[in-house]
Each structure stands twice: as C-alpha cells, then as structure tokens.
C-alpha cells in the first residue's frame, strides 16, 4: 500500500484535484462555481502532462556546453509542456465563451442558480 503512494505524490495530488474539479462541475448549483470546477479539472490535466515529462536532474532541452549532449536523461522532453501551452489556450478560450454565455444567461433570467433556471425554463 505504502509503495503505491510513495513516489507518486504528484499523481495523487493530481487525482485529488481532478475529483474536486469534477465534483464542482457536476454537483454545484451555482453556474460560476461549475466554471471554477472546470478550471480546476483542466489544471489537473495540465499538471498530469507536465508531471509526466519531469525528470530528476533534467534541464531544459537547450544546448549546454557544460553538459553532455548524448545522454537524453539529462534533458526534459519539451513536448508535454508545449502540448499543454496549447491546452491552456484552449482552456482560456472555453472559459471566455462560458463567461459570455453566463452574462447572457444572467441578462435573460437574473439568476445563475441551476435549479431556479431549470424551473424558469419549463
């Protein structure tokens, strides 16, 4: 059991973040809180990618004369980070669209509470 946790702290933290995010998105009644949950969920996935690319004693993959260039263990794979830059952009765009939707919801119904909204939509 203990070895299942040891050495995987980062992943456990990510799992907890993921669950917090999902909880917020699915169970919170306030639509803004749902969005907060969404951001937490997206951050957890970003951390998952970044954590998967990390290495002890690794450094940025830029040529360093002091280090050997033929040992890949000395350099971090930059691709997960690059992918996550794109994912962050996607997340920001989603958040922007979501806020625009919320503004228009609030203008039409004067509330952001899901239950009240569903009642008024009937």
């Amino acid at each position: 059991m203990i070895e299942f946790i040891q050495g995987y702290y980062a992943y456990w933290a990510i799992v907890i973040l993921m669950l917090i995010g999902l909880y917020g998105m699915l169970l919170k009644r306030n639509l803004v809180k749902k969005l907060i949950g969404m951001t937490v969920l997206q951050s957890s996935v970003i951390l998952l990618f970044v954590a998967s690319g990390t290495k002890w004693n690794g450094t940025v993959p830029i040529l360093d004369v002091g280090r050997s260039v033929d040992d890949p263990a000395l350099y971090i794979n930059p691709l997960p980070h690059t992918l996550m830059l794109t994912a962050i952009v996607v997340g920001v765009a989603t958040l922007g669209v979501a806020f625009a939707l919320l503004i228009s919801v609030y203008r039409r119904y004067q509330t952001l509470d899901e239950k009240t909204l569903l009642k008024q939509m009937q």
């Binding site: 969920l41 997206q42 794109t86 996607v90 979501a98 228009s104 039409r108």
Partner: protein, 497 residues
C-alpha cells in the same frame, strides 16, 4: 501542383473565410452570406477532389512544415476521412444555401458573427476528420465545440442555458479524452495515429493502456451524446436557431462517432476493444438502451425539434451499436448510417426551418392539414425523410438498419434484433403522429377561413431546393446502396478486422 495540398485545402478554406467574413462585413452585412457560401462550395469541391484521389490512389499524407511524422503533425486523406469531409462540406453547402432567410429572421443583426463562427465550426469538424495526430484532433474538437456553443446560444430565450450545460459536459468529455491521451503518450511517446497503430500492438495489456482506452472512449461518447451521456443534446438542439440545429444535428455528433471509429479501429487494433477488453460489449448494451430510450422519449415530445433531437439520441445509438459489434457487416452498417442519418436529419431540420419561417412555430399538437396546403413541397420532403427514418425501402434509412440487423444475426444477438425492429415501429409511431396531423387532421380554423381559401405560402426556391435535394438524395442513397457500399464504404473500413 495543387493536388498535393488537397488534404489541407478543406479546413484552410473555412478558416480563411472565417477571417474574411468580418472584414467584408465592414462594407456591409449583406456580404457575409455570399462569402460563407462561396467558401463552403470551394471546400466541397476540394473535398470531392480529395475523395476521388483517395479512392484511386489510397491514403494521401501531408506533413506540416516539412517535418516528417511522427515528429511533425500530418493530415491524412484516406478513404474514411475523405468521405467524411465530402459529407461535411456537401451538407454544409446545402444548409448554407438554405440558410440566408432563416438566419435573417432568427438571428437578425448578428449575421456576420454567425457566419464567421459557422465557418470556424466547419474548420474544426473538417480538421477532426482530416488530422492524423491525436492531440491535433483534441484541438480541432475544442474549436468545433466552442463554435458549436456559440451558434446554439444565439437561439431562443433558454438557448444560453442549454449551451452552457453543453459546454460543461462537452468540456468534461474533451478533458477525459485528454487524460486518455496523456496515458497513451506516457506509454508510447507518440501522438501520431499511424505511428501509434504500429506501437500499441506490441505493448503489454497494462492498467495505463486500459485507462487510456477507456477514458478516450468515454470522452468521445460524451461528445457524441451516447446514451446515458446524452443529457446536453435535446435542449441544445431545441433552442438553437434552425440553421444551427440543421448543421449540428447531422454533423456534430457524427464527427464524434468518426473519432470513436478512428480510435477504436485505426489507432488501437480492432481486437483491443473486442477481445482484450469488453468495451465493444459495453457499447452495444449502452447503444441498445439508447435506441429504446431515445425513441420512447421522442414519442412523448410536443415540439417537433425536440422530437427530432430525441430521435437523434436513438439514431446515434445505432451507429454506436455498429461500432460496438465491430464486425465487417456492423461497421458497414455504422458508416452507412453516419451518411444516411446525416442526410435524413439535415432534411428534417431544414423542413422545421421552413415551418418556423412560414407558420412561425413547430408545435406538433397545433399541426393540421393547412400545413400541406401552405407548403406541399416541404411537407413532401418531410414525409420522405420520415419514411426513411422509419426504414421503408427503397429509402436510404432501410439499408443501414438492414446491415445492422444482419450483423446482430451474425453474432446471434437476438435481443438486439428485436430492439432494432421494435424501434423501427416506435419511430413509425412518432413520425406518423406528425404525418397524420399534417395530412389528415382537418383544419382547426378560427374565423371561418376554409381549407380551399388558403393560399399556398411555400418557402422560396433558395430554401426549397436544398430541402428537396436532401430528401431526393435519400432515394439515390437507397437505390444505389450496393454500389456505394462496395465502391466506397468497403474502402473506408479498417484493413484488419
């Protein structure tokens, strides 16, 4: 010369026009529509060229920036993706020919952003089908989804709420897909589909591989509204403007079905989801549930658009059923149903658009035979599409169901055979409920204006021609179904089943 850039041309045309529309919009709102239409026709032309090249010479690959895959990103124009892109671009062109007047009346004043975002939606959808890179696919998935939320939200009063719920569930779906991708990347170090297809069979069946497969299937299942993850769909399609639902209902969920097909049979080897994990069986059970659930709820609806939305839930489940079985026959049925259902749903939603423009509503309990007097051609198109949905030969809908029934018999899944036959009956119930009112229910006139005195108020040619073309195409798809299956569909299926 231009031939070698064909895979790129379709999405880039849409993307370019999405940027051009706001610019020409500065000169006047009326210029937005022609630009969108021309771009869509050009894209259709490029996609058709792509299909003929792909069928003649096999897959065509386009490496971006000269970086050879698997390092770089590539677009792949194989028979499956090129056929999907022809379907997407062709239907979009027809819907856009139809769109001018409904858009003017339903989203008046916002034409420029509407067409621009529609073009972005098509950039995303065609990008999804053409890309050969799983992360690139995620980005296109989000482009199309964001554009989809936007064109839903400009609809009726509750539309933003529906779009927001779609956004929440859609984002969960995309995030699930991304988690699956993270595990796959950790295991293989590659994101290129062709590269992954050669690496994955050599991997042992470890938990990360299983999790990545399951997460990707669930994520895509949410995007394609597979029962019981369909919660966002009915509201979104009901409250969206007619043109948006005519674009999203036939195309949006089909593209997600394409992603499922791609991931399950081209990236992972076909036996992975069938023999190593019971994912295929789970999909089959969910699909059987969805087929029944969607049809039963469709019977209960009072609003035509909402009824069509629930029927979409049921029809998407047919596609999932074929993918779940995963045999040659079943996949033929699934792919054929992607094509057929896209045509049927587009025709039905265009007729709803016509109805809303002419009589101003689409509430089933208020239909009577004044409709057939007012708009005989639209109602004829509706009838043909409805009969095809029920599965009357020689219309297209019959044949895809036929292949699915054959595939179930091949697997001795008699319960599924019974469910398919029963739902055909159920869909007959919900469509004949509408047809009966339109053709047989006497006019509920107030103020003494009789049936004979009603003048015909059929929609203009620009709206009528696409509607009739789509329903006419159902005959063609049905009659030439053997040719289509042997010449096109068989080339699209994964080589090793």
């Amino acid at each position: 010369m231009i031939e070698q850039h064909l895979p790129l041309l379709v999405p880039i045309t849409y993307l370019f026009s999405a940027l051009v529309i706001p610019l020409v919009g500065l000169a006047g709102r009326r210029y937005a529509y022609p630009v969108a239409l021309i771009a869509s026709l050009l894209a259709t032309f490029a996609a058709a060229r792509g299909l003929s090249v792909a069928l003649r010479e096999g897959a065509m690959r386009y490496a971006f920036g000269g970086w050879a895959p698997p390092i770089g990103i590539e677009f792949v124009l194989d028979p499956l993706s090129s056929c999907m892109s022809v379907l997407l671009t062709g239907l979009t062109s027809l819907v856009l020919i139809h769109a001018r007047r409904p858009v003017e009346s339903e989203v008046s004043g916002k034409e420029i952003p509407f067409y621009s975002v529609t073009m972005l939606l098509m950039t995303g959808l065609t990008g999804i089908v053409l890309t050969g890179d799983l992360f690139n696919l995620f980005v296109f998935l989000e482009i199309s989804s964001l554009a989809g939320y936007a064109i839903i939200a400009v609809g009726e009063k509750p539309a933003p709420v529906a779009a927001f719920r779609y956004l929440i569930l859609g984002t969960i779906g995309a995030t699930m897909y991304l988690i699956g991708l993270a595990f796959l990347y950790m295991l293989t170090g590659s994101l290129n589909m062709a590269d992954l297809a050669s690496i994955i069979p050599q991997l042992p069946l470890t938990p990360p591989l299983v999790v990545s497969f399951a997460m990707m299937v669930v994520g895509v299942g949410l995007k394609m509204a597979l029962f019981p993850m369909h919660g966002w769909l009915p509201d979104a399609y009901t409250y969206a403007p007619s043109t948006s639902s005519a674009l999203l209902a036939p195309l949006g969920t089909k593209v997600a079905a394409y992603v499922l097909l791609r991931v399950m049979f081209f990236v992972f080897q076909p036996s992975f989801g069938r023999d190593m994990l019971p994912v295929g069986d789970v999909l089959t059970y969910l699909a059987a549930g969805g087929i029944l659930f969607g049809s039963i709820l469709a019977i209960a609806q009072k609003e035509l658009k909402r009824m069509l939305a629930f029927s979409s839930v049921s029809q998407i489940a047919y596609i999932a059923l074929g993918i779940g079985f995963g045999s040659q026959l079943a996949l033929t049925g699934a792919v054929l149903h992607i094509v057929n259902h896209a045509f049927m749903k587009a025709a039905l939603f265009l007729v709803v658009g016509n109805m809303r423009l002419v009589v101003g509503h689409s509430r089933i309990d208020q239909f009577d035979d004044s409709l057939r007097r007012l708009m005989p051609w639209s109602m004829a198109a509706f009838t043909i599409a409805a009969l095809s949905m029920v599965g009357i030969p020689p219309l297209a809908g019959f044949f895809s169901k036929w292949y699915l029934v054959l595939a179930s018999i091949e697997r001795s899944a008699w319960g599924i055979v019974a469910i398919i036959l029963l739902t055909s009956l159920l869909s007959a119930v919900y469509f004949f409920r509408v047809l009966e009112r339109v053709y047989l229910r006497p006019l509920q006139a107030i103020g003494g204006s009789g049936f004979e005195s009603l003048a015909r108020k059929e929609v203009t040619m620009s709206m009528l021609v696409p509607t009739l073309t789509l329903s006419g195409a159902l005959f063609i798809l049905g009659v030439f179904n053997t040719t289509i299956v042997t010449k096109v569909i068989h080339a699209m299926l994964p080589p090793a089943l």
